[in-house]
Chain length 366, copies 4
């Protein structure tokens, strides 16, 4: 059992609370000999770092990662890699009330019901701050993938913010140019206006994120509970505030006919199968086919809002909760690098699993 | 790692292929002393059994379960329970072509790419026939749950068939009265007409299923990768043909504001929290709150259709695939008892986990 | 957690009781494409089969194995392999008393204390009959090893029976010529006389078994809890009646000095390291070095004896236990093939693990 | 798979190298609400701390533990506990040669063969310094056990140093009075003289340690691969330099007859079973009976000695190794608190497992 671990062979255990002295992750099973240093991991952490624009929490955390073990002279040794991020901006005074009152939509009440004792500062372990450790692990996973599958590319971006849904066009060059990682200049503009309004009114909104992996080797994933899509669903659903996960066509598959849904197969010029469409999201029977692996997930609106909501206290008294403090009006934004990190970890894990069982040999076509 | 196992403490390993001599599951970790017999498990298997009406495959399988171990004098012993179902109607001649041709939408190609050797008869291991073993395991899980949490109730039903989406009303008394387990007499009628048309034209359609667990104890689930919703997402996504999973509000959460999404909390007459709504689907921070746990998943259309689709052979030649044989025009129908079984297994597993870590003690409210 | 499973990537879950309808094992993670059939597994089972000579239980079990899944056209498919052995000679009348009385040295009392309900027939799950399933799994593991590491050789033999300890000489050609698998014609003769006497007097004796693996690739095993010796210790200790496990020098290492214990290293003619001695038993820091891997384990005397022993009944009454029925006077004999099977499974498991993490690459010497 | 993790529900992952910036452990699954602070853990670490007398390495490490997560206001929260120990006295100059030369008896060669890249400073991950993290985890386990099973007592002590074997008498009051934790004033004196001689001559010796747990609840352990003795064997064998593990009678069981080995059972005055002897070491069929759980393990002599030993370099050249630096002449001494820590972790883990599966209910006797 692994309450706080994910992965089978590339095993990531995250630890730490929002306002404790530090947080981080222990990564076991990392292949040896892979070039890595703190800067390479920091690159990814900086994307998730709070306080970078007005749409994310104003908590100031440098999120500096330290490698405490498992790396020697710039390369992984194959032993556990410990990545630690110290918390520096822990204004726990902002969170004093939480200890006695349950904030609707937050895990305050469920943690209390389960454990009977919890760290209430900033949500403690249930804080989205935990995802910094995932991004660090994802940075390590990317370094390993770069060594093993150089052509693999993982990109995440927003496809929905509140009621605003991105159309089918994706201008990938726009992703890095706007604070939402949305692949559309027009959407970036519209969404900014929408979010400004929400933020000023003390409200928040949900979002949907899409993560695509291009160049995934065929044959990753294992029937029937170690399916690649099963693991991706778990990985994404484990991110704070996620309420739905889709592979390829996703929930819309329910409305299709078999004729429409079939991704017809042809032989490409390079002797590899090509497909007329990708309803499957790159996965058949839980195993990658070589097509793009496409995952989407929905993030619920930030529960910490200035709008008063009815609730109760620990002693059962009715109360009203207004959450001040520093919060993201749309937590979905910072979920983009987190989703990418999870994708990287899952693909690497399955690459290792496949290498174990099949030795990477493949049935031939053509 | 567990390619074919799910669960942490109530561990279910399924085995067997569509056209092998038998299939079944090995259940390890079952609590001792629980009353169980073959009839109790057969009850649930009979719901999934093929050939019961014109909307499911006409393959005739009695799906008789045998308990080979772990039960003595009508009660579980705490040692592994082996449940075996013999395959009797194995007309593998229906499936001869598959060995050389890849059927679009099926796992033929990905299994071949991964393993380089596979049992092609009826899809082999990738066949939905595997889910019979899940339903058997679910029957055992239900028996244990009945002993530990007598008030728990798990119900699954269809909420969408192709383009036909069920409205918000649910007439639960209708569920057992129609072949679709849809909680609406009108929908049952409309869907029958729609499916008849599809079936005659040799086409198929997708579906969405909702599974609700009522009476789930609060405190089940564990941060941050053993979340109850994480495990449910994995469990449902592991079912054949599932492409999306939602908890509570699901993908629609992306469109909400924080104000709308907050499930306001009050104190009920019984001194327990009550909620004004259930956008959360009964889970906060990955831990059950005592509200109904609500999961939905989408099943893609049956890929085996009479409509010709373009594909290639193993040797890379272009071909056209028309799948004859005995197939469900909507595999989503028989996914209902499977979804229920997965829900039962996941809840039991987390009940045992919670009992291990917290001893079942709870923080008090009021 | 895996109560009844061992292995990480080659995962064996055994199931079944002494007097239930059948027993067997579910093997998950087996590499695909490996030639195997029932006869190949039966070969190993026949070595463990009871009733083959006067020194083992006279229970008559053909121990015929059936492959129910995971093999197609004579090769493994990479999906779970189910191996089943039906119980045929279940004279449970012999065991009637056990239900109410605790036999000293047996698990009757501990199973009762733990579970409060158990299958008492022939010891139920605690019977050494469970080891038949291990031997079947070991047969499969050997087939995979033969494909991956053709030069690997695993041999087990007895090195002690009661007070009779084999000297340092081993005449390996004798192993298959006597019922004790002892590598010495003289010992075989002496031990037969000793065991005849014991058997006639209704007593029993302990034994020690040594299992040696030759040709184990270097680099297997992983620090610090997945060490090869850690796993071997667990594997052997999990065999019924085993009370001690040794690697290389074993318990005698306590008496050595560092000077004596050091296995000095030289470079062999083939450019590989050679060692002046093998106190380490082929494992340093938990990782194989390429030397012979040497394991020994001690089996306690059969607890089922005709000599009366004091005990109590379930209701707490004093009683005297005399165990009639069909029992091995020295269970250690049939532990030989079981130890070999465990060695095969552990080595294969670690071969797959190593392939996953390092890709099988090795640091160069010379 | 868990290369660097042990435990199923109380999961300890250790990380860190001998001469890296820090080492520690991540403990997942710790029950909530248990009183703990750094001082309570430091108490146990201080027993293992180097440099306390002339018989252990003169490396000076304060081994100060810091709790970085999982504890709030003096009690565990049920989320991961991170325990970190910074390395302060890292004279890696002492170890410069190791990078190019393989020290006989050390893991230098096997790590190199496996990983092709390693941290050679002080043995890196293979250093016994890793056991500090185990002792820290054991301190936490003891705190939890104190809350759940107040009467449980775990004591470790040496029973052999080189050729000097302790007789059957144990004067437990002596344990804390001598540097060897040997329960005999006379042995302490004799062993000191012996070890002084060895140390001066630059040699080292092996040792045997016994760890006894008194007050272990009956019913812990699970057939057939999660047996309590199986897990104890793995736990002890995973400690650096251990070559053999025994439960109860251990390897000597091979020489006994069934009549001698049977622990006869009587009913005690408190209505609980009492036994005339404890050959079983408190475990039958892998499950605890309530008797003392008795484990012994042998530690090989320190491989770092001043005596020259033949070896080779990475480039295959013959060489002679003399290991200067600061080393324990008998590493077995500091293995005592490590063995105790492993016992505490295993028992706690199985207590949680038993609570999960059986709910702690017990079959009644009398």
């Amino acid at each position: 059992m692994s309450y706080n671990t994910f992965g089978h062979l590339f095993r990531v255990t995250t630890w730490g609370e929002s306002h404790g002295p530090a947080l981080g992750c222990t990564v076991d099973g990392c292949p040896p000999g892979v070039p890595i240093d703190e800067a390479a991991i920091q690159h990814w952490l900086d994307r998730r770092k709070p306080g970078q624009n007005k749409y994310t929490t104003q908590r100031r955390e440098p999120d500096q990662v330290r490698i405490l073990s498992g790396v020697y002279e710039g390369r992984t040794t194959g032993t556990p890699v410990q990545l630690m991020i110290e918390n520096t901006d822990q204004r726990s005074k902002d969170y004093g009330e939480i200890a006695e009152t349950f904030r609707p939509g937050h895990a305050d009440i469920s943690y209390w019901q389960k454990y009977g004792h919890r760290d209430p500062r900033g949500g403690g372990r249930s804080s989205a701050r935990e995802t910094a450790a995932r991004v660090a692990a994802g940075g390590l996973a990317r370094a390993v993938l770069a060594a093993l599958v150089p052509d693999l590319e993982i990109r995440g971006y927003m496809v929905q913010m509140g009621p605003h849904v991105l159309g089918p066009e994706r201008d990938m060059d726009e992703i890095e140019k706007n604070p939402f990682w949305v692949p559309s200049a027009q959407a970036a503009e519209d969404w900014a206006a929408y979010l400004d309004g929400l933020r000023k009114s003390g409200n928040s909104c949900g979002a949907a994120i899409e993560v695509v992996a291009r160049g995934v080797p065929e044959g990753l994933g294992a029937p029937v509970y170690g399916k690649l899509d099963t693991e991706l669903a778990a990985a994404m659903m484990s991110i704070n505030a996620v309420k739905g996960v889709e592979i390829g066509e996703g929930m819309a598959a329910a409305a299709l006919t078999g004729e429409d849904n079939a991704d017809e197969i042809f032989l490409g010029n390079d002797g590899k199968p090509v497909y007329a469409s990708n309803h499957a999201g790159g996965i058949l029977g839980g195993i990658s086919t070589g097509q793009d692996v496409v995952v989407r997930f929905a993030v619920k609106p930030t529960s910490s809002i200035l709008k008063p909501r009815a609730s109760i206290t620990k002693s059962g008294q009715p109360t009203e909760v207004v959450t001040k403090g520093r919060h993201d009006p749309c937590v979905g934004i910072r979920a983009v690098p987190v989703g990418e990190a999870m994708m990287a970890c899952v693909i690497l894990d399955h690459l290792l699993l496949d290498r174990a069982q099949t030795g990477g040999t493949r049935g031939k076509i053509g």
